[in-house]
Structures are given as structure tokens and as C-alpha cells.
């Protein structure tokens, strides 16, 4: 029987990976992910988990090693953050295009420079285009539940793609919270043993990763695009199945008090939990505001998102990363992509907040709300801004 206990999210995530009976873990220490792999090494040491634990010499090697173990047909797990994910960049595309169903948890953290170990989404957002599935947990319970879900999605024969499970570094990874931990037996009823579609096998030799000449490269990319996009159906099914089995149902796009809201905040990750409390508070003052949260980020749940913001007037989009000199934050960019050309599309107030560990608090939400309210009242849509920057408004520093 699942037990609910107070546990650090990182440890719970590691326990979940162990309960999924992973075969291989290759990882390199990086804050704030480290507790996950450290705990896995303990579980291997204690004989709780029969797996190969490979403490490699860099993240580049970690992801390469994961490709090797996954290619051999092993259920493969790893974890990283920030610079570590950036160092994996080269191999990320390879894991994806070789269709290796690796599960990687990423405790999201800012990228240097300046050196910063705290939370934002610059690490994951710079990996948007690498062809992995990407999903976000908002707290320890979600992130723990998403581990078996991710393995099941990745290994589904209709999917066969690596998946990145994101949660906010420190804010989620290091927090002790009550988490209902599924046992290995319970997980086994949901996640069957892994049967690779194909693997490196001396008796049935195949080649992985050969050259793709211009005559086939586009088709290979097309196949990959189709695989990622078509993963949406199986993902929904698997989330649903998990909900039916264990009572916690997760959706690709989550909403909170949006029914009667004119203004809706859009975000992902742990900030939405703070935002829920803020929404509850300001609703008492009569402010009709709700939240739409992306859980699934790749494939982008376009239709589910459109439905969630149907009829809304103003979106307050919060990004925790942005493209300097570019089109603002990634969430805003993609939200606009989903709504471009739609009749009566809501207006978008785009802000960047929570960079490098700066807290997104009620004050921040108040500020964003004010801007949204002005637009709702007929004001101009302001340009994207780093709303928490000292020195004030973007463009007027």
C-alpha cells in the first residue's frame, strides 16, 4: 500500500525511479539535482535496487553513457541541472533522434554567467528544440508520480522517445513535503517490464546513428516530428490510466479557477502553487482571475491550451527565461503561436520573472495583474518586460 510520508522531493523522486526498477543510472553531480542520484547510489548499495550505477566524469559522458545503456535495451534513468544539461546538449539530439527512451529528471536552475545555482527555466528552455518530450511537475508529489508515468510514456511502442521531467530546483527538489509513495508492486501494475522495440544485439545486428545524407535527413526529421506530435494521444491515455489506478489525475494543461475569469495567468512549474494562493486571496477582493498551467511542454498541447483560454480576455504570461533581443520569453512565444489568427484571441501581457532564484511572490502577481487589468480596461498592451528588475520598466532603465 502506498504510504504518505514527509520526505525531501529529491529522495522521493529517487525512490520512485528505484520503484520503477531502472536498470542503469549514469550521472554526474550538479546542484540542485545531486540528491537524486546520491540517493539512487545508496539504494543500489543497500541492495534495494539492482541496477548499474555509473558515476561518470561529466554530463556529456552521462548522457552518452545513457544512450549506450538505452541502446542495449536497459531501462535508463539520469538527472541533471543547468550547466549539466547544457553540457549534454550535443547528445540530447542524438538520444531523441535515435528514439532512446531515457528518462531524465531536471531540477531546473539558471545558466551562467553570472554563476548562479538557483532556480529558473533557462536550462530547459534552451533544450526546447532537441526533440525530447518535456513535462513539468509543480510539487514533490507530482514530480514523484511523473517518474513512472515518464517511463511508461517513453517506453510505449507508439512513442519511444526520451523524456525530460522538469521541476524547480531547490523550490521543489529540496523541499520536504508529504508525498504518497507508490510501492514497487503498485508501480509494477502500471509500468510493465521494459521490452525494447530494437536494441544493439550481436545476434541481430543493427546500426544506430549512421549518416543521414541530404536525401534522407529531411525525412528522418519528419519522422521525428511525427513521433513527438503523435505522442500526445498515448501521453493522455497514460496520464488517465495513472489517475484511475492511483487517484491522482494529471492533465497536459491544468486550469485553476478559470471558469469566470477574464484575466488568466499562464505559467509552468512551482510558481503556480504560489499563484493559486494569490488567486484565492484576490478573488475575495472580487478580482476574477485564474491560472492555466502547462504540464506538458513537448509535444505542445496546442488544442488543450486553446480550449483552456477560450473566451478569456487577457493573458498574463510568466516566463522564467527569455531570448535576449528576440521575441521575449518562450512560453509567451509559443502561446502566441497557438493563438495567432484565432478569432477573439486574448491579449497577451508578457513578463519575465523568477530569474536566477528571485522569488515570484504575491507582489509580483499583483504587478502583473495591474498590467493585465489596464489592458482589460482598454489600455495598450505593454512590451515584454523583466518585471522584477531593479531600475524599473523594461526599456526605461
Amino acid at each position: 500500500m502506498a504510504v504518505r510520508k514527509g520526505i525531501e522531493s529529491s529522495l522521493a523522486i529517487a525512490e520512485a525511479a528505484a520503484a520503477c526498477n531502472v536498470d542503469c543510472i549514469a550521472a554526474y553531480p550538479i546542484t540542485p539535482q545531486t540528491h537524486i542520484v546520491e540517493h539512487l547510489s545508496e539504494l543500489v548499495n543497500d541492495g534495494v535496487l539492482d541496477a548499474e550505477f555509473i558515476p561518470v566524469e561529466s554530463e556529456h559522458s552521462a548522457m552518452s553513457c545513457c544512450c549506450g545503456t538505452a541502446a542495449a535495451g536497459a531501462r535508463t534513468f539520469t538527472a541533471t541541472s543547468s550547466q549539466g544539461l547544457a553540457l549534454m546538449h550535443e547528445i540530447m539530439f542524438i538520444a531523441a533522434n535515435l528514439r532512446l527512451p531515457i528518462v531524465m529528471t531536471v531540477a531546473n536552475r539558471a545558466l551562467s554567467a553570472p554563476i548562479n545555482i538557483w532556480n529558473d527555466h533557462s536550462d530547459v528552455m534552451t533544450e526546447r528544440d532537441c526533440g525530447w518530450l518535456q513535462i513539468f511537475g509543480e510539487n514533490g508529489q507530482e514530480s514523484t508520480d511523473l517518474v513512472p508515468i515518464c517511463h511508461k510514456i517513453a517506453e510505449d511502442k507508439r512513442v519511444l522517445l526520451p523524456i525530460m521531467l522538469n521541476f524547480d530546483g531547490f523550490i521543489v527538489s529540496h523541499v520536504v513535503e508529504p508525498i504518497e509513495m507508490l510501492t514497487r508492486e503498485e508501480i509494477a501494475t502500471f509500468l510493465p517490464d521494459y521490452e525494447p522495440q530494437q536494441r544493439l544485439d550481436v545476434d541481430n545486428p543493427i546500426t544506430m546513428g549512421p549518416v543521414g545524407m541530404p536525401e534522407v535527413y529531411t525525412e528522418a526529421k519528419m519522422a521525428h516530428e511525427a513521433a513527438v506530435r503523435n505522442a500526445y494521444g498515448p501521453i493522455c491515455e497514460i496520464l488517465e490510466e495513472f489517475g484511475q489506478k492511483f487517484g491522482r489525475t494529471y492533465k497536459p494543461v491544468e486550469t485553476y479557477k478559470t471558469e469566470d475569469a477574464d484575466i488568466v495567468f499562464v505559467m509552468m512549474g512551482a510558481a503556480s502553487e504560489t499563484c493559486m494562493s494569490w488567486v484565492d486571496k484576490v478573488r475575495e477582493q472580487g478580482k476574477k482571475v485564474g491560472i492555466v498551467r502547462f504540464r506538458l511542454w513537448r509535444p505542445l498541447p496546442v488544442e488543450a491550451f486553446k480550449e483552456a483560454v477560450q473566451g478569456k480576455k487577457v493573458l498574463g504570461i510568466i516566463d522564467r527565461h527569455f531570448s535576449p533581443g528576440g521575441a521575449g520569453g518562450p512560453v509567451a512565444q509559443e502561446v502566441k503561436y497557438t493563438l495567432y489568427g484565432e478569432k477573439d484571441a486574448p491579449k497577451a501581457v508578457e513578463v519575465v520573472a523568477g530569474l536566477g532564484g528571485r522569488d515570484i511572490d504575491f507582489d509580483t502577481f499583483d504587478k502583473i495583474f495591474d498590467r493585465c487589468q489596464k489592458v482589460l480596461d482598454g489600455g495598450e498592451v505593454p512590451p515584454f518586460e523583466l518585471i522584477q528588475a531593479r531600475g524599473g520598466h523594461y526599456g526605461k532603465i
Binding site: 546542484t31 547510489s41 545508496e42 561529466s58 553540457l87
Partner: protein, 284 residues
């Protein structure tokens, strides 16, 4: 009122950044003390000294030394320093970082910088673990030692770093401990004066993570061990200096003068281009 007295090497440190992050008993600070004494002894022009660090506990050194410093990414300090060294031929470039940074994630840069005999001094503080991230296993963790990622005891072969550097082509290679402060300071003086790739491995206690986990007592116990197990063998064949239980071979193992990368480059280009070749004088 407490009177704050200045320390003799205060001028070489960014005292505004104190207190530093190092734990009580950590050896990194001791090595920095030796380094500042070496700089003083050489009366170095501080405008022509650059300190480059990677990431880690030792990686913080660049931030505390009051000269031009470059706090780079994990493992890449030597690559940054190679660029810096070639573009500032009139300056001294020092890489100051830990074993995890230099010999693990940055191992490839180490062997190639040594092979090319790039003009730089590398001070590698080896405390047998990744300190900053919580004491994980490194390529320098001794056999069977415990680390947070080897609760079962390390089973991988351990790097003999001086041998690695010497075999790769390093032209000055030494090893000392933070107990041997005078010898270490003297070695730093020699390394800083050495044209080409000079490398010092500095054995150092990490009481917080490595020693506590391995029940090795307090920092002072490792200092005593360094004292008792030290065998000074200048010129020793680096193949024989692997760290073994009970014996810590120390000394200046390699000190030869070979053309530096820049010298080889200039010679080759003079041959190839003759009169047309204009040696690079450095960025201004």
C-alpha cells in the same frame, strides 16, 4: 571596539569577499596562503598575473585573489587559460582549481594543455572528492573510499595525476601537501618562473565531506598523516608515485625546458612564412 589588524597578504586578497566559503580545516585556504607568498617572493607585476578557476570549492580561488581573475565553467578553466595565455604572452596565467574540475570533467583539456606545453601554471588541489556538490566520487578518490555516490566503496582505478601530466608532456610537475607549506611555496615559485606547462598537485584535507564520511578524523589527522607518510623523492619516476596507503611521495618530479606552444608556433611559422611572419605581441 575590536581592532582589525591587517594580514601581511591582505593586499593580494579581495578582503571585501571575506569571510570565504571554505570550511574550518579545509586545505584550500592554506594553499592560497602559499600562493600569495610565492607571488610576493617573485615580486610579480600584479597587472600581468591572471588567475583562472573552474567550478568547485577550489574554484572559488579566482574570486578571492585580488588580480585579474576569470571564474569559468566546470572543467574548462584550462581551455579558457590557453586562450588567455596565447593572447597575453607578456602575462602569467595561473589555473587554480580542484581535482574534480581539472582531472575529471576537464581531463581532456589537462592532457592537451600539457602536451602542447602551453605557458601556464596549474595548481590542482586534490582533496579526493567533489566538495562543492557534497562529496561524490572522483577519478582521484582512493580505492574503496566512501563517497556519496559510492556508499559501497570506490572500485574504480585512481588517477596518478603527476604521472598523467608528465606522460602527457608537462614540463614541470610537482606534488606537495598543505602540510608542507614551505616546500609548496617554493614549488609555486619554481612553477611560476617555469616557461611552459607547470603543474603542482596539492594534496589537501576536505574534513567536511571526504574525511568525515571515511571516518578519518579531523583535518589535523590528515595533516599528521601527510607529515608521517611523506617521502620526498625529487626527480622520482612519476610511474612510481601513485598514492598508496602509508606512503605519500612528494617532490619536484619533472623540470625540463622544452619549447612552449608559442615558441614552437613561432619557429614553425618563421620556417613556413619567412620574412612575412610577424610574431604576435599580444592584445593591448
Amino acid at each position: 571596539m575590536t581592532e582589525i589588524k591587517s594580514h601581511p597578504v591582505d593586499g593580494l586578497l579581495r578582503t571585501d569577499r571575506m569571510p570565504h566559503i571554505w570550511c574550518p580545516g579545509c586545505g584550500v585556504g592554506t594553499s592560497v596562503n602559499c600562493f600569495t607568498r610565492a607571488i610576493e617572493k617573485l615580486e610579480m607585476d600584479l597587472d600581468k598575473l591572471h588567475v583562472v578557476s573552474g567550478i568547485g570549492c577550489t574554484g572559488r580561488v579566482a574570486g578571492y585573489i585580488n588580480v585579474d581573475s576569470f571564474h569559468t565553467t566546470h572543467g574548462r578553466a584550462l581551455a579558457f587559460a590557453t586562450g588567455l595565455s596565447l593572447s597575453r604572452p607578456d602575462s602569467k596565467v595561473v589555473v587554480y582549481s580542484g581535482d574534480g574540475d581539472i582531472a575529471a570533467i576537464g581531463g581532456n583539456h589537462l592532457i592537451h594543455a600539457a602536451r602542447r606545453n602551453v605557458d601556464m601554471t596549474v595548481i590542482c588541489v586534490n582533496n579526493y572528492t567533489y566538495g562543492m556538490t557534497g562529496g561524490q566520487v572522483t577519478p582521484t578518490t582512493p580505492d574503496k573510499a566512501l563517497a556519496s555516490t559510492t556508499p559501497f566503496g570506490n572500485f574504480e582505478h585512481t588517477f596518478n595525476i603527476p604521472n598523467l601530466v608528465a606522460a602527457s608532456g608537462g614540463t614541470y610537475v610537482a606534488r606537495w601537501t598543505v602540510f608542507h607549506v614551505r616546500q609548496l611555496t617554493r614549488a609555486m615559485v619554481s612553477a611560476l618562473k617555469h616557461p611552459g606547462f607547470s603543474f603542482i598537485e596539492v594534496l589537501s584535507p576536505c574534513p567536511t565531506l571526504y574525511m568525515r564520511r571515511n571516518k578519518l578524523g579531523a583535518a589535523v589527522n590528515l595533516m599528521e598523516y601527510f607529515k608521517e607518510s611523506a617521502v620526498i623523492e625529487n626527480g622520482a619516476d612519476t610511474r612510481t608515485v601513485a598514492l598508496n596507503e602509508g606512503k605519500t611521495v612528494l617532490g619536484e618530479f619533472v623540470n625540463v625546458r622544452l619549447p612552449t606552444l608559442r615558441e614552437s608556433y613561432e619557429e614553425r611559422m618563421k620556417e613556413a612564412l619567412g620574412e612575412k611572419f610577424v610574431p604576435y605581441e599580444g592584445s593591448k
